[in-house]
Every structure is written in C-alpha cells, then in structure tokens.
Symmetry: C3
Subunit: 472 residues, 3 copies
C-alpha cells in the first residue's frame, strides 16, 4: 500500500449524514495537522483559539471560534497547546465539565515535570475526562502522509468510555490505538517519543567497550609488537586485519552473553525452589535486552563475514601469496599438501558458515512480523534450541580455527595469548553449565519450578490446579 500522498484521500465535503464534531484547542502546527487529517477522514472540526479568525493556515472546512464556543460544540476536545499555557483552561472548567479532554503534548526532556502533562491537566480540570493520546505521532508525518515510523498511538485514561471514543478516532485515522491503562501511564507515554533506542543502549555500549578493548589488544600484539621487535610497519592492518580479529571475538562473546542470563536465572530458580521471587535488578534488565544483545552480535558476525570474504582481493594478501610462490620457485621446491591442514581449514570455515546461517535465522525470526506469526513453542524452539546450536557452532568454529596453535609458544607475544583464546572463555563456560543443566535430574525440577511448582509451598491449591497450560 503506497498511498503516501495526503492528497489522495479526498475530503468528504458534502457528506450527507451528520458527522461527529471534534474540537481542537490550539491552532499551532500539530493542531492544524491533526485537524486537517481528521477533516479528511470525515470529522467536523472546530478550532478553539484566542483570536477567533480563520487564518490561511487553518485547514479549509474547519471553523475557528473562541475556546468556550468551540468546546460547546463537541464532546471531545483535543488540547494541542503547550503545557505552560494550560492554566487558562481552569476558567473554562464549566464548559469542559463531563467532556473528553485529549492531551497530546510532549516535553523537551525525559521526566521534565514531577507529574505528567496529562495528570496536570486532569488536576486543572477535575470535571473533565482526560485521555492521553497522539503524542507519539509527528505533525509532519500526519500532514505529509509519510507515516513510515510508528503508527501506534498509546492511549491511557481513567475513563473507559472516553478512551473508547478516542480509540475510535485513532482507528478512523488509520492509526493503531494501544490501550496502556489508567492515567498513571501517561508519564511513561510522554517519555516514549523522547527515547532513542533505550533497550539498545546497554548492548551497544557493551559492544563498543569490548571492541575498543580487543582493538587495542590486537593492535599491541599485531602492529606494535612487530614494529618494536622486527621494525616492520604493518599499520595498514588497522583497516581490515584487526577489525576482522575484533568482530568475530565480540560477536562470540555477545552471543554467549545472550545465553548466560538464562543459565544464571535457572541456577537461581533451582536454588530458591520457586520462580516467584524476583530476580536481582541487573539480571532482570539483562534478560530483557537479550534480543538486542543478540542482534548486535549478529551485526558483528555479519561484518566478520564480509571482512573475511574480501581477504583474497586485498592487495596485501595477493602480494603475500605472490612472494610465497616465487620463494618456492627460487628454492626449487613445491610445498606438499598436508591432509590435516586441509581438514582443519575446511572444517573451521564450514562450521563458521553453518553458524552464521543459524545466526541469520535467529535474526529473521526476531523481525516483529515473523515472530508474530509463529506460536510460542516454535519461537522457543528457534530462539532457545537453535540459538544454543548457533553458540555451539560458533564456539567450535573458533576452537578449530585455533587448531594446533593453542599450545604453540610463538603465539604468545609479550605473554599475551591470541585474542581469540580470550573470546572462548565465556562461551565455553556457558556451554559447560548448560550441559549440566540439561541432565534430567536437574532439568526435571527446573521445569516444574518454571510451571509454577514451589519447593516450600504448603498449599494443596498448587498441586490441585497446577498450571492449566501444561505445554511450555
């Protein structure tokens, strides 16, 4: 559906049946845009304004009256005014009594005021039914029709009927209303459009931190060390060689960190014998950002794949191969083929390919429209079972890559082990504990606990009702 232009939907000018009238306080940018859109969708619009004269900016077909007169004409009043100017509404409290007041305002900063704008409005006009809505919608998007970002309109309010009326308008405008409960939720809703990927912050900062650390680690081992000891300038390694060391390492560690909290949670639940005690806060937060952590890991894995695939077209690599062949010719020898090397080289690449493929699969299932079309069991199967398989393949990929080099002392420059060895610590730990957790003698009580059973519960209630949803 590509009907972006706002001109496409014709105005219902002489529509036969009486239309619902909506009043908008404020003729600023947002008020006008919303009014324009609502006119298009067949509403009658009356603007409430301090100087009741139609300006050229007011959408055609809308009336402009004084605030009081305008409010009289409609049951729903949309307050498209900044919070600082709300106080004049107290004078209108008689007219506004029993009416639905829709607060659309946003602030400049998160938690700018002690109470949300909508709650403040409700205090000012106690007789009105205040509903928070539309604050996540952009005036420009409404006007230009390019509503590519969120069409979700979060709604809250204490009066269910009033909410229902606002939700009907939202639906008619082609947007998706989402009921968020009572007016207490307004604070949350007002903060929402000011947020910039809040759930992504921790994963991204973590990834940057790890990247920086491993970048300098590799820089020391692979650029500074040869410079100091062999006086070799390989500073151009900074462009590809070192990023291609850092990316797989960060990807693997992040991937392991996706599955670590589930293990900690399991141990905690086993230890406590119940799932009803709250997890510590850090664990809760960690568990909630696993999706983002996993997707950041996927980004690094993707970059690793690209960096690896361009290896043969790099000037440096071609030159090295070149020198290698010529040196053989000069020495009049042909290096023999070692079967073991063939096996190692091919199998670590193959493991990497399969791991990357499953990684991508996890990424695709986390697209909202895909995850929404699978059932819970299928989602768990992909995310948990295939997710662990991904971790196993990627860890094996790194292990086989290490191959025989693990013990070679030449790998330890300035006593620093190769970076990939460090990257194996967390994944191996996660896999080892998980291996223990899937033993039946541990898995069975855990499953029971997760189905609501409690070790120290006395009530017979539990055992009688149990969980009616037996399948996980």
């Amino acid at each position: 559906m590509e009907k972006n232009s706002s001109n496409m939907i014709p105005l219902a000018e002489n529509s036969p049946n009486k239309q619902e009238t909506v009043c908008i306080f404020g003729t600023g940018d947002f008020g006008r845009s919303l009014g324009y859109k609502m006119l298009q969708c067949g509403y009658s619009i009356v603007f409430g304004s301090r100087n009741a004269q139609t300006s050229s900016l007011i959408p055609k077909g809308a009336e402009v009256l004084s605030h009081g007169e305008a409010a009289h004409k409609a049951d729903i009043i949309i307050v498209a005014i900044q919070r600082q100017h709300y106080n004049f509404l107290t004078e209108l409290s008689d007219v506004l009594h029993g009416k639905v007041l829709v607060d659309v305002s946003n602030n400049l900063k998160i938690n700018q005021y002690p109470e949300s704008n909508a709650e403040y409005l409700a205090q000012l006009v106690p007789g009105a039914k205040v509903v928070k809505a539309f604050n996540t919608v952009s005036a420009w998007a409404l006007q230009s029709g390019t509503l590519d970002a969120s069409r979700q309109v979060f709604i809250c309010g204490n009066d269910n009927k009033a909410k229902q009326m606002v939700m009907d308008i939202v639906r008619t405008l082609g947007l998706t209303p989402l009921d968020q409960g009572s007016l207490v939720a307004a604070k949350e809703i007002e903060n929402y459009p000011l947020q910039l990927f809040p759930m992504w912050k921790f994963p991204i900062y973590l990834a940057i931190g790890l990247s920086v650390f491993f970048f300098f680690y590799c820089l020391i081992r692979e650029v500074i060390y040869p410079y100091v000891y062999e006086n070799k300038d390989v500073s151009f390694f900074i462009a590809i060689t070192i990023p291609n060391r850092v990316c797989p390492i960060v990807a693997l560690i992040l991937l392991a960190l996706v599955y670590l909290p589930g293990i900690i949670a399991a141990i905690l639940q086993l230890h406590r014998g119940t799932k009803y005690s709250r997890f510590p806060d850090w664990l809760d937060k960690w568990m909630l950002c696993r999706k983002q952590l996993g997707l950041v890991a996927l980004v690094f894995a993707f970059l690793h794949v690209l960096y690896t695939l361009v290896i043969p077209i790099r000037y440096y690599v071609r030159w090295r191969i070149n020198v290698y062949v010529i040196s053989q010719v000069k020495d009049n020898r042909t290096d023999p083929f070692y079967n073991t090397n063939g096996w190692i080289s091919d199998s670590y690449v193959a493991l990497g390919i399969l791991g990357f493929f499953l990684f991508i699969l996890l990424g695709i299932t986390s697209l909202p429209s895909v995850s929404n079309s699978v059932n819970w069991r299928e989602f768990r199967f992909v995310q948990s079972k295939l997710g662990y398989l991904t971790l196993i393949l990627c860890t094996a990929h790194t292990l086989v890559y290490g191959g025989k080099r693990f013990l070679s002392p030449s790998m330890y420059k300035w006593y620093l082990p190769a970076a990939y060895m460090l990257s194996l610590i967390v994944p191996c730990f996660v896999l080892a504990i998980k291996f223990v957790l899937i033993f039946p003698c541990i898995d069975r009580p855990l499953t029971q606990i997760r189905q609501g059973w409690e070790r120290n519960s006395k009530g017979s209630e539990q055992s009688h009702y149990n969980d009616s949803k037996s399948a996980v």
Copy 2:
C-alpha cells in the same frame, strides 16, 4: 516500542470509575499471570478458589473467594483449571447460567481427547456461553512482558456477543484477537500451540532426503572413486566441496518443485474444464506448502553462495593454485587465455548472482509485513513472474556451469553422471511445460476457467454475472 518490562505500566489503583469485573477460576500459574496482567490493564479481578484465602502469590488488588461467590460477581469467568478438574463446575451450573465461560486450557498431546476441552466444558455447563481463548499465550510471557512470539489470540464460540466481550478484553491486554468461528473450531485451536512448524515438515524432510541422497552420490564419485582408483585421500572434501555440490542441486530441485504443482494444477483444470472440482489431496497439500518449499530452497541457495565465496581462502585451493603456477614455471610455459573459458566462467557466475538476487527478493516479499503491504496483483507479479525468472536464471546458471563438460566421458565415473546433471531434470521439465502453457491458445481457456468459467456449464447465470472482479 520496547516497553517490555511489566513494571512499566502502572496499576490503576484508585481509578475513579467502576471497572469491569472478571472472575478467574484457578489460582495456578496461568490464572495468576492473566489476573496480574488484567489488573494492570484496569480490570477488577476476583479469583475463584477452593480455599478462599489470599496467598502471597495472588496479585495485589485481586480478591479471592469461593468459586460460587466469585462467579456471582462477574459476567465473564475465565476457567484456568486443567480439564481433569472440570467436573466440579457442574455443581455451579446455576450460578454459571448465562455467563461467559472462557476456556484457556491446552493439552499435552495433539488430539488427546475425542472432543475439545471447550466443547467438553460446554457439555458440562450447558447454560453458559463457552468461548475458547488465550490458550496460545504463554503464562511466562504474560508475566514477564516479553511477548515476542505470537500476540494472536484465537477465539471461537457459538455466541457472538460473548465472543465480542472476550475480544474486547484481548484487545485491552494489547493482544490481537482472531475470530475463528463457532466452538467446533476449538479442537483446531487447542492443537495449535502443540504444533511445531507443521507446514515446514514436508519441505524440510524432502530437503533432508535429497541432501542425503546427493551427499552420498557425490561422496562416491568424488571421494571414494579417487580413493579406489587413484589411492588419493580427499576425505576433507566432506567439509566444503561436497556440501557445495549438494546445496545448489537441492536448491534448484526444490525451486522447480515450487512451480511444478502450479503446472499440474493448470493441466488438471484444462483437462477437467472447470476449477471447481477438488484437486487430489496430495496436490492440495503440495500447493499449500510452496512458500515453505521456496524458503527452504532459498536457505540452500544461501549456503551455496557462502560455500562458493570462501573457495579462494581454502587452504586446499590455495595449494592447488600454487602447484599449478609452479608447474608452469617448471615446464617453462604460460598457459594461454581462452576467450571461451572467460565467457563461460563469467557468465555462469553472473547468472548465478542475478538468480540469487531474485531469490532473495522472493524471500523478502514473503515476509508477512511485506506481503501484507502489496496488493494481490503485485504479489502475483513478484511470486509468479519473478519466481519463474529466478527458476530460468538458476537453471541457466547450472547449464552454463556444465558448459562443454556435458558430453565429456571423463565426467562419468562408474557410469554415474555428474550430480548437477541430475539436478537439471525437474527444472527443465517445469520450464518446458510452462513454455507450452503460456501459448495464447492454451493460456486463454485456462484464464477463463480460473475466472469461474466452466466448459460444461449449462446455466446462463455464469455468463451473465461472470466474475465481477475482472482483474486477476
């Protein structure tokens, strides 16, 4: 929108207006989770329980009463009890008369009982209006707010008003209700969360079967044969070389099998002169899993691309090139460049790239959110027209790859033709028949038949009304 934590939506504690009261029978895991969520969304909750005492597990703000008292207080009663314990409900049939009973239960196995739990409930309490709902939602997901998997709540029931009431609750909880018709649909709905990718089973098994067959076929030709005749150990081919033979073959065959049923259907429809006779069952099933078949083919094509791109970084390949160059130097010759080989090599790669790109495009358009935003004509254009183009390009890619080798007898080891030759049979067959079917003299009657025209129809009705939807 990333508001996953359940703590974020505040409870409406002293909400001014009277809220709808919902009763939940059963204080097990699911009952409590649902109650907790509904409290958050502004409902009054009363639990019905055998021993009416609030335990610490009951969400704050909810009442716990005896079953009878609790049922009295609400019009909707959610039965969050296992089916085995339903029989006590018969005693309450007076209180439950006329009420809406929501069955949320699941079973452990598909088709565990002769009739669905919801129908069984309806038999036990004939006076109540039974609605099936919520069984696809996970208790844990409800509680933790991580509703990444399906937000779809399938609903069925014989009373439309009752269904409507339940659907309102579902929407308020931020989930998507899907009306599935009368209570007969409950069986289907109860089986749903127990399924694990049912439509994917056939395509995946088929792909595995084909892969195994071609794996051993290639193993014989490329590993065992040289071992037997030349005593050459190339067992490491198992890691990459042979998978990279198998993947493109399976991808191509599966892709052809996506378009084969459409051709069989067309021939059947032409033969029968009507589209209203049912297809044989196997054809019906095949046609319904074409999407999955196509996506599995895409997976194999994707793996083939990765396996191919890593070729130049394989130790074995580098060694072979190395040896080749040195041998030229030793023989003091420089192998000349053959223009034909340049053409063949470049054009089969180019065909492969274009085919793969279209393949990906097909994959992207089959993402639910994308396919939902194109109209029917556009979807058919991509899936049918571009799909055939993909098949043509991929077949041509394989044909050109074969190049001059087709007739070379050295290709037949133990009288076995190269595996890629076998892979060409189905696609060439499909393309040949499709070529015949698009001749106007065959296409015209087919189009008519698909628009509802019948060769042996007597009624004038047909010709008069025709299909009011003339555009396909």
Copy 3:
C-alpha cells in the same frame, strides 16, 4: 500461524444462536467465494439470483432466492455483479431502501469510467447506504485460504454506521479493515488493485536509465577502446566486469538522489521563510518516492558486493594473477610491497564494507514491521543521521578507490574520464550543501520553520501556541 487450508476452520452447522444474515447478489466466482468464507465464519448467507435455483457450485448451507426476496432477508447486501449489470437494481430500489449495499467491483483499466462504480451504484439506488469494500481481495485467495498478499480491506462510504457494520464483517473474516473516508475515496480504492508498484516506477526507470547509460559508457572505454587500439578482445567483460562498474555507480548516484530532495526542500523553506507553501509537484513526488529510491540503490549495492566477492574465483582473474607471477619469475624479480597501496586497498574495502552494512541497516528499518516498532525520533535517527553516514562512507569508498588514479592521464580514454568519477558529482554536491546546512546559523531558522514558525507571519497566535510537540 500457518492454517492456510480452508478446510481447517469447521463450518458452524447447528450453531445454537441466531446468526446475522447477509445477502449476496450474484452467484459468480467472487460472490460464491465470499459466501463460502462467510458461511465458515458463522454468517447466514442468502444469494440473490435471476434464476433462484441452487446449483452445485453454491456453497452448502446457503439459500438462493430471487433478488427481491433475498434482499428482504438481510440488512447488508453485497453486490457481486459487474458494473454493466447494475441497472436492474433500480427496479429493486424499494426493497433496498435503507439497506447497506456493499460494492465489491473492480474495473479492467485505471479510471475506466468517469465516476467510481460505488458512486454509480449510489446514484442508481439513492435510498441505500453504499459502502465500497472487498475489492482488493482475490476470489481465489478467499477460497483457497492462501491470503499471503494484502489482507487489507479498504472501506469507504458516507454512512458511518453502515461502514461500521461492514468493518465488523471484515474483521470476522480475519481481514483488516481500513477506513478511507467518504464515498469519494471509492475511485482511489477501485484503482488500487490495478496498480503495479506505482511508487516504484520512477525509481526503477531512473535506475534502468542510469544503468544503460553507464553500461555503454564503460563498454566504450573498456571493451571497444582496447579492441580498436590494442585489438584485444575482452568482450566477456560484459558479464561481470562492466556490471560491476555500473552497479556501484548507480547505487551511489541513487543514494545521493535520496538525500538531494531534502536539501532542496530545506533551501526552499529557508528562502520562503515558511513551510506552508506547497513544494513544486516534482519535488513532492520525488520526496514521496525516496524510500523506493533508497531500496533500489540498496539492490545495486548488493549486486556490487556479490560481483566484487566473486572476483577471485573468475577464470580471467586467476589467469591474470598466474601470468603476473610467472612474469616475475621469468624476470627474476619479486615486486616489493608498497605500504601506501596496502593502506589504500584495505581502507577503500573497509569503507565499502561499513557503508554496505549501514545500507543494509537502512533497508531493514524500512521493513514495515520494523519501522512500525520504532518511534519517530528513532526512525529519523536511522533514516536521516545513519543515512547521511552511509552516503559519506560510500562516497569516501569511491574517492579512496580512485586514489592516485584521479589525475593519471592514462585513465582518460578517448577523453572520457573513468565512470566512477562521474558518479562522484551528485554525492559530493549533496554532502557539500548538507555541510553548509548544518551550520547553526542556518540550522536554527530551518528548525523553527519546520516547527511551524513563519518569517512573515503577523499573528501573535503563532508565538503563543507554538507547537505543542516540541521534540521533533
């Protein structure tokens, strides 16, 4: 959710409560399919037909009556007849008075008739409440259950209640109703299913035009020139070498053209001092197809990546490297390693990889389900900030690729500069102007203008109300 087969949802045969009755005029393909589906979902169906006899094609459970009798039985009448046969409805205007008439018809061509079919119907039967709906749904898809394409049902009509009734039916059938306003919108809705990617036309034609131009440009420089002057036949360059020149060039130019209109708009807005004058039509259209333009650019970038990654497996490339090594051996020299070349080669590849990664990220955020789950600020951040970063990286990639070659006269064959130089013009221009526009002294007035402020506005209204949505 994969319940595609229509057999899966059982018919509610002896459903206890009275069901809503819907009448369908016309027993053609679409009427029957719709009737079948509605029966499944629990409606009572009565067909209105010229000869009121049940044929074998009529879905079981439906009645067939004369038009008048059928219309009597229902409040909603679905008119599944072709427009040419509408006139008989005038005779029934008494029976149809006050009823809801649903027009489902489509035409064969865009704008085939002066007025839409639905408006024509409304003129014929003035007493009825005409609603346009269902015309975007395919009869075959309804019947076979394979509703992969759009489930969106566009609805318009002058009577809100009538629309609501139709929307209820749509929802019950598992489809998504979208209210498009009054009956004037019917024309648009009727054209919709006849469209084939209308927003994509301009970007695709532009991309094809650019591709053809640069293809021949490169052909002259790289195939014809060596043929004429050196008598070298490199015609096989047509398969990969030249496409791999064309793809990155077109990708870069298209990417720059995505960000050019925003700059022109900004300059216009600054010049005019208001955002409320309409942009010229071409600019409006250009701005609305930026998404498509960007995605086409992504396609070309993707092809460029694939074409580049296959370089080392091309026969021609291998042969050239081969010859190069042998020539060194013959001359008894080993070409030294140039650090600068190492830097240039690695850094242009690294820039390309990062640019491509961001490109992909832009593509992923433009998937409907993803863009719908981010808020406006986040969407702008990705599309505008990261978008410009992509443009910078891709431009830098091309500049560094050029490296020292820019001034080398050997690059000018027949006075033609290398194609990549031409591709740099638009992106460098866009980046230069953007660089000027982000200076605070220019950015501040622009931001004010975009928030609704007007340079020549007299009203105090503006400054008072301002925009209540302060955050962009």
